[in-house]
Amino acid sequence: MRTSLNKIKAIEDYLLGSMAPGDVLLFEANILLNSDLIDDIKYQQSTYSIIRQYSRQNIKAEIKAVQETLTTAPQHRDFRQYIANFFKKH
């Protein structure tokens, strides 16, 4: 891998706690000396956060699609009726 990708891997190993203890010391020394590295770490953390939000949106969309199927498809009519009965009194 090219150098920039290895740096991303190193930040990932550091953030996810999979870096060897000796390497952690060296990495943290680099953080003190290199303000660009601090920025890279900060933006990489934001990247993980964005990936999580994107992924959650997608999983929720898949779940909603399943619910939509249950709400509309003819073969699930009995199930719909069964559920609707719980809410009849309200």
Binding site: Q53, Q67, H90
Partner: protein, 180 residues
């Protein structure tokens, strides 16, 4: 960092069957409970959607917790969500104090960046989702995304990280409220 349940949930088709089975098996109990608590069908559906997101994240996490009774576990999450939601409404407070972590309200800048990435970097976002959220093993990711092997897929992952990180950096300079 690979989850044990990843293979049976690795494609949209498999997840569809999985979620459908859970709706059939568990949603009646959740609906009955929400109904008894005075809630509506819409509320029951909303809560069950969040319940399934939480359960999916639990299954794909690296924790090795054994869930013996899936139905009881899901009903427990739904009850907790109901109480948290109900409590927040009666206290007129925002839903941001979950100890079960649910999809949080996002900052406006995050939404803009996310929207940009959904349109301009869809393939990368899908690849990163497979690695970091679905936690699929590298050989599975390689197969799903058409890479020749795990090394190629791993390199592609880091290239995507670089691309997305750079996008976030550029956009963050524009939307100052994104970082911090």
């Amino acid at each position: 960092m690979i989850a044990k349940h990843n293979n049976r949930l690795s494609t949209a088709k498999l997840r569809e069957a999985f979620f459908l089975a859970l709706y059939k098996k568990v949603f009646p109990n959740v609906a009955r409970y929400i109904s008894r608590m005075g809630g509506s069908l819409d509320e029951a559906q909303d809560i069950f959607q969040d319940t399934l997101v939480i359960y999916y994240e639990k299954l794909t996490s690296t924790q090795n917790e054994v869930i013996l009774n899936e139905g009881a576990y899901l009903l427990g999450i739904a009850k907790k969500l109901w109480f948290q939601r109900h409590q927040a409404i009666t206290k007129n407070q925002p839903l941001n104090d979950f100890d079960i972590e649910v999809v949080a309200d996002e900052q406006p800048a995050t939404g803009k960046i996310l929207h940009y990435l959904e349109t301009a970097g869809m393939k990368c976002m899908e690849l990163l989702k497979a690695y970091y959220y679905d936690r699929l093993p590298a050989d599975n990711v390689a197969k799903l995304f058409g890479y020749s092997g795990t090394h190629s897929a791993t390199v592609a992952k880091y290239k995507c990280m670089e691309k997305v990180r750079e996008t976030i950096k550029q956009k963050s300079l524009k939307y100052a409220d994104f970082i911090e």
